[in-house]
Amino acid sequence: MTLAHLPALEVVVPLLAAPLAVLLRRSSLAWAIATAACAFSFAVALLLASEVSAHGPISYHLGSWPPPWGIEYRVDALSAFVLVLVSGIGTLTALYAWRSIAAELPRDQIYLYYALHCLCVAGLLGMTITGDAFNLFVFMEIASLSSYVLIALGRDRRALVAAYQYLILGTIGATFYVIGVGLLYLSTGTLNMDDLAARLPQAASPRAVLAALAFITVGVSLKLALFPLHLWLPNAYAYAPSAVTAFLAATATKVSVYVLLRFYFGIFGLELVAESLPMREILLVLSLVAIVTASLVALWQADLKRLFAYSSVAQIGYITLGISMASRDGLTAAVVHLFNHGVTKGALFLLVGGIALRAGSAGLECARGLGRTMPLTSLGIVIAGLSLIGVPGTAGFVSKWYLVLGAIEAGRWWLVAFVVATSLIAVAYVWRFVEAAYLSAPGGRTPEPGETPATMLVPAWILVAACVGFGLQTSWTVGGAQRAAALLLGGAP
């Protein structure tokens, strides 16, 4: 009985944990509740994922109202994959926050952080699991509003400005999305995604559908920080508390990518997206520009958080590049990179948070000599950095492999050269850290920073280990991504 309600519990448990954390107020209790709720969601997500891979998609009818009248929760190969990512990262960052947030926030605000963390996790999980376009908007706003506050919690006053800018752009993005959904509703009279997909071909006015496509593309692109709509991201990541940066970098943009995939392939369909508007070409060009410019900008950053933030914009470019190929291998690359990059960036930001805690800031000059003073933190950043570059044996390599394979299959040899050549820029910016950490003498600070506390190091290293593990044994990630790609392209689930 309860097993049948797992899809609802996945979202409801973290959603209810948030007010509970506020009521309890004690920071340790709030931490325990948040961690337990996220861990519960993670366990449920794993269960759902195994259920989906064994028996196919799950459709859950909220309040037993059958779709298209009621809201449907739908878990398939793709959403199960994203659910695991979001809830897993959510659990690890909650664990990590115990020390990290205690050091960054006043004691009486800590319970608020955990409440917001739960809300954000619930929002992102809801966006992923729901099969209703308007319900998705509501969850999107839950996740966004809580993330604005989370960013504003940062100690630096610039965090407030970053949160404000993100609020403005995020709200514009969400409103664009809801305009698009409104146009779709006017054209078809339904909000259920499957129903939309079925009814769109008979829509009275194809022009309204195209307008909806444009609005939704722009709205979601703002949320996923597609170049040139990425301007909110570097500041937001740089000034938010470390745990928040790690969580948002690993999950928020990824869920938006997921929404884009859902709408492009699950609702509008490839014919409409590719043929009526030059969406693939636009996405391709924007991705290429994003990869080159953001990577180059990352090269010149003096702050590790900003450096990796710009690197995120570039890496999102690789994901959208895979989407623009719209082939089996391209989509596999996009989905697997969505997951792998989430894991990699999560690891990086968690470890950078350790540096920020010990050295007082995440400036590159604080990284000098860290190889000796914080050996495990530095080694972790190096390994996750290698995954960012895409060295074989790390998660990032797998994504690059499929991206190149997709380009070869499309016969675009210049794209092959582009993908491999731009990963060299990643080598350059990762090596800026490596040289600072291992070839520079410590900056003469007294006392010398010690190693990151174990409660922060362990969650970070779990993700570092995942970077290597998902690079060596890929049957789960690649298998899941391939099933998801087949699903999106309308093949067998």
Partner: protein, 488 residues
């Protein structure tokens, strides 16, 4: 233990050894004992595999599925056996030498040095044993990364610049050229397993495309130092000499030419390449590298730089021999991996001994040094003779086979290149020997004797091995011939 267990052991021993060395970091004697014990255990594992391979067995080990259809797997064949044998046996000698060198020069960060060295050997074993291109590529990149801390060991500006060149060239070529080549191979052949006769026959690639793919491979394997991607090797000379000796004369560079051989023999297939004439350009590039690098070596006053360029030129011997596509020349190429290794490591050992004893680094400073360091310079002379290819040294053996192979292939230009390069080799090595023994020492050179005993023991041992190899050549020769597919 059976073959699979021995392969696993050969991979795990250096990796576990690295952990042990790291744990023993505070106690130098224990740490160095751990290094020696690890090296000895590794050699035992590799020697345990030798009779199996000689008997025609091909032990296998599959660990994980890296990508659907591509495993992280190992399969030992004669060529890999030869490479593993050379690297693991020279590691012991080099470890003894390292102890003398690192202590004699009071080097910093010695624990990191030994840890990275052990990891480099683990990566080398992975390359030697790999069953498919992806496994090989994985360990190939790993080798680059774990040797970077060794190259930048001194941590100063020069080391940083050298490290950047090193990493830039090696990662740059392997990511931009080698990786696409591997993915193209996968896309067309549907497999990456090394198979006798190659996997690209009938894969639907045109002759021109095959030629282009071969070029991607040959230049992508930056560790083989084909010009113009050779500059990382002189840059790597900022490392302590034991690193230059084992890694940049044996493990890393030989991993490069080993990969070249693997690709030519097991990915393209010698017959396929000969049929479609896709490799016709390769002897020219290799020949050019041989001559040009020799000329640069001739003009270098820095001893290690001269040795590095000599290595660049000798590596292209292997590529040239392999590119002639005659069975005999392929066997010669395989054998040259072994013979050049013992000769060149002796030369580097001698260079390091000279530096440790007298702090001299330039060729022009070496007048009369043979009188103070007779053992060192005697060993240097033997190594030099081997590289020139004068009997009865090891170098003669492989060079003679390369000549024979070139003659059999009817490639007259290659013969001319080989002859010219032999002259050049003599021209840049013999003056050093001449100056060391026959010139008067310059005034004010300071008083010094031989280098510390462990270094001396190591370099005398490798010099003796250079002399003895032709007389015990049955094993390497058998492996080389088996690799080339000549009557087993």
């Amino acid at each position: 233990m059976n073959g699979a267990q021995l392969i696993a052991a050969a991979l795990l021993v250096p990796a576990a050894g690295a952990a042990g060395i790291a744990l023993a970091g505070r106690r130098p004697n224990l740490r160095e004992s751990a290094t020696l014990a690890t090296a000895a255990t590794l050699l035992v594992c590799v020697l345990g595999l030798l009779p199996l391979v000689l008997a025609g067995e091909r032990p296998q080990l599959v660990l994980l599925e890296m990508l659907p259809g591509i495993t992280l797997g190992f399969r030992l064949e004669p060529l890999g056996m030869l490479f593993a044998l050379v690297a693991s046996s020279l590691w012991i000698v080099n470890s003894v030498y390292s102890i003398g060198y690192m202590r004699g020069n009071n080097e910093p960060q010695q624990t990191r040095f030994y840890v990275c060295f052990a990891l480099a050997l683990a990566a080398t074993m992975g390359i030697a044993f790999s069953a498919n291109l992806l496994t090989l590529y994985l360990f190939y990149e790993l080798l680059t990364l774990v040797t970077w801390p060794l190259v930048t060991h001194h941590g100063d500006g020069e080391a940083r610049a050298g490290g950047r060149t090193y990493l830039g060239f090696l990662l740059g070529t392997s990511i931009v050229l080698l990786l696409p080549a591997i993915i193209v191979t996968w896309a067309f052949a549907g497999t990456l397993d090394f198979a006798p006769g190659g996997i690209l026959r009938g894969a639907g690639l045109s002759n021109a495309a095959l030629g282009g793919l071969l070029a991607l491979y040959m230049f992508g394997i930056g560790k083989a130092a084909l010009m113009p991607f050779h500059r990382w090797l002189p840059a790597a000379m900022v490392a302590p000499t034991p690193v230059s000796a084992l890694l940049h004369a044996v493990a890393v560079v030989k991993a490069g030419v080993f990969t070249v051989l693997k690709v030519i023999v097991y990915v393209f297939g010698v017959e396929t390449l000969a049929e479609v004439r896709a490799a016709d350009w390769l002897p020219t590039v290799a020949g050019f590298t041989i001559i040009a690098a020799s000329v640069v070596a001739l003009r270098s006053d820095n001893l290690k730089r001269r040795l590095a360029y000599s290595t660049v030129s000798q590596l292209s011997y292997v590529v040239l021999a392999a590119s002639l596509l005659a069975p005999l020349s392929v066997a010669a190429a395989a054998l040259h991996i072994a013979t050049h290794a013992v000769g060149k490591i002796t030369l580097f050992f001698a260079a390091g001994a000279i530096y440790t004893a007298s702090h001299k680094t330039e060729v022009s400073q070496l007048d009369g040094i043979g009188r103070r360091m007779p053992w060192t310079m005697g060993a240097f002379a033997i190594g030099a003779l081997s590289l020139i290819g004068i009997p009865p040294t090891a170098g003669f053996l492989s060079k003679w086979m390369i000549f024979q192979g070139a003659a059999a292939a009817g490639h007259h230009a290659a013969l001319a290149v080989l002859a010219l390069s032999t002259l050049l080799n003599a021209a840049y090595f013999l003056p050093i020997v001449h100056a060391a023994f026959l010139r008067e020492p310059r005034a004010g050179g300071g008083v010094h004797g031989e280098a510390p005993k462990p270094m001396l023991a190591a370099l005398v041992l490798t010099a003796l091995a250079t002399l003895a190899l032709p007389f015990v050549a049955a094993v390497p020769l058998a492996l080389a011939r088996a690799a080339a597919g000549i009557g087993t």
